[in-house]
């Protein structure tokens, strides 16, 4: 009797399993069909982020609509400070892995971890997609008055290890150890990325920024890896600089820099410093690369949460991210169209947001960009 009951149960469970399998199968086929239909349109994951992110994303979407750009966004709300509204991380990372491109706002990171977890959501996203390289192109924009003119340098940052490894512990009470991990593989990988970037974009010099005089083993390994890779690029000049000197040189004479490659934390600091030189967090675009996908996000990571709902944030950085996205995805025509419109608005200087010394709102600025699209 027991045997019979077990058999019936087994049969039933198999039946239900079969049904679910079939249902799943149909689902995937449908998905494939729909992706074939929309062949001409580029799918792009969209993460608005925290703070003013959603407002800036709306600006980008409006400009895309006005320019008739063939991009279809797949929006996901991802947030660490708002966990109840946030989409699950694996869903978001699967979407990025599928679409290969993503436009992302900034995710706020609280100073204190509520759950005791050390890894932030940002770091988890980077880890899950292996977005190892962050590229920030710091370039003076026309019409923006800043401390230095004609700055043009590229800051490349390793962002999966180093100080951001989330390995901290209190070994004895009152003594905290924070581990900084440097590996040869990842250092060589980022160095090669920097040199390949230099070759591809016709740049002449790569500067390795480090602190190997103090951290002789950790940063020493990073420096050594860069030197090894540099041997393979005889036509690109290679220089090294200690990070403290580098920050000083950056504010006094930024024109000496071309492509810069550095470990995680130094990259974060230098990114923000360089962004300050050319007009602040609202005007610098960046991108994170893995082998397969790219996430475009503003270069200096600030959520600007005090301006939420005030309609004062500057959408320039986000628009530049979108331009880079279009250029990357073989939609250069649209990318250049938007870049030119943006440059026209900045050059005129009549419609500027507060951070650039103007009086206009986000929506007015966006409208001005749309009006000067040609």
């Amino acid at each position: 009797m027991a045997l019979l009951a077990r058999n019936i149960c087994k049969a039933l469970s198999q039946a239900t399993q079969k049904n679910t399998v079939r249902a799943l199968h149909v689902g995937t086929i449908r998905q494939q069909e729909s992706s074939v239909e929309q062949e001409g349109k580029l799918k792009c994951t969209l993460i608005p982020g925290d703070g003013v992110g959603p407002e800036l994303v709306v600006a980008v979407q409006n400009v895309f609509k006005a320019a008739d750009v063939p991009v279809e966004f797949e929006p996901y709300f991802l947030s660490e400070v708002n966990p109840t509204l946030s989409a699950p991380l694996d869903q978001v990372s699967n979407s990025i892995a599928r679409n290969r491109v993503c436009l992302k706002g900034i995710l706020a990171t609280p100073d204190h971890s509520m759950t005791g977890e050390l890894q932030t959501l940002n770091m988890k996203l980077r880890k899950s997609l292996d977005l190892y390289s962050n590229v920030v192109h710091v370039k003076s924009l026309p019409g923006i008055r800043s401390r230095h003119q004609n700055v043009d340098c590229v800051i490349i940052r390793e962002q999966t290890e180093g100080e951001y490894s989330a390995l901290e512990h209190e070994s004895v009470k009152g003594v905290v150890e924070c581990l900084k991990i440097v590996t040869a593989t990842k250092s060589q990988r980022i160095a090669k990325f920097a040199f390949d970037y230099a070759v591809k974009n016709n740049r002449k010099k790569v500067t390795c920024v480090h602190k190997a005089n103090i951290m002789k083993l950790g940063d020493g390994l990073f420096l050594k890896s860069c030197q090894e890779i540099a041997k393979m690029y005889p036509r690109v000049t290679f220089e090294t600089m200690i990070v403290d000197n580098c920050t000083m040189q950056m504010v006094s004479n930024p024109h000496q820099f071309d492509v810069m490659v550095m470990p995680n934390l130094y990259g974060n600091i230098v990114d923000n410093l360089a962004s300050g030189l050319v007009g602040g967090a609202g005007v610098v675009a960046g991108a994170s690369y893995s082998a397969e996908c790219v996430v475009f996000e503003p270069g200096a990571r600030h959520t600007y949460s005090e301006a939420v709902g005030k309609n004062v944030a500057n959408p320039t950085a986000m628009l530049l991210c979108a331009v880079k996205l279009l250029n990357h995805a073989n939609l250069k025509r649209y990318g250049e169209q938007i870049r030119e419109a943006l440059n026209r608005v900045l050059n005129d200087g009549k419609v500027l947001t507060k951070d650039l010394g103007g009086q206009s709102s986000t929506t007015e600025f966006t409208a001005a960009v749309i009006n000067s699209l040609r």
Partner: protein, 384 residues
Amino acid sequence: MAARSVLRYLKLRPVVFQSHRCASLSGFDIQHKTPTIKKVMPIPKAHYGGRHTVTMLPGAGIGPELMGYVKEVFKYAGVPVDFEDVEIDPNADDNVDLDYAITSIRRNGVALKGNIETRSTEAGVLSRNVALRNELDLYVNVLHCVSYPGVNSRQKNIDIVIVRQNTEGEYSMLEHESVYGVIESMKVITNFNSERVARYAFEYAKRNGRKKVTTVHKANIMKLSDGLFLEISRRVAKDYPDIIHNDMIIDNCCMQLVSNPHQFDVVLTTNLYGAIVSNVVCGLLGGAGLLAGKNYGDHYTIFEPGTRNTGTSIAGKNIANPIAMLNAAVDMLRHLGHKHHAIVIQNAINKTINQGVHTRDLGGTATSRDVVDNILKHIKIATA
């Protein structure tokens, strides 16, 4: 300097010891450090955000114009591949450009190449094509010869894969005059390289569902050298019981190829015989302008047109056949994993040929431009 020009005038160069002026590698090194397998630092390939960077060596003759067409087609089809152009000056008397090209391939992993000319007659400057293959240890050359139904050729429905040893044999460049009037040229066959290439041929046959491998040799005359090659291919064949293995002497093979090519499936040969056999088969299918070859090593890959001709006489006349180079580019896309783009471009090429848009070498009247425009048109239809 003066001394050198005097020497040049007296034409004593072959006898005078040539000091190698190349910075990192002498010509001798490039030729003879191989055929031992090279330890290389495992560096990541240039593949970022879904885009690949590939070294492009346009070479001489029609190379630059064909590369222009490849770039145009890639741009039009939206292929996520960027090219790093490396020019090699054919007149240079040193190997600086060549070294740079080799370094560039080392860091990108993949190259698309036209035929490179070597005009310099200095003893230290060797054929750049051979130097590239030897230095990067590209030990196997694969030429997949398939008939196009739309091409009016001598034989129809041919489907032969030629696997050729690419780094040793007659191309070892070891020649000397032992006594006045007597030249010795060495042909080097090694156990190690023969086994690698034989293993490649059988593995290729197994993975691509091929039935037969034919080893082409001349072991009845060169009993030791070609004998070794044959013996090793027989030994490797024992590991693949599902695949038929037979052997054929090169002279007979050439005759069989022109009279009954359908008996061949995969052809495994040494270096020089491979050059001959591939040119014979290309001739059967419609000339030098159609087929694309692949050079594989353990770490690097070079794609190039199947028959290695520069076509200097037709350069700049808008009559060169762009199909071979485009086929090489499609092979490259497959290798890089951009399957979708490879299929789109491949279909466009096939349709263009089979509709009869042919350049002069295939008996048509179209210019190179017409052929490329036709391909672009088909790509547009496929992606719209």
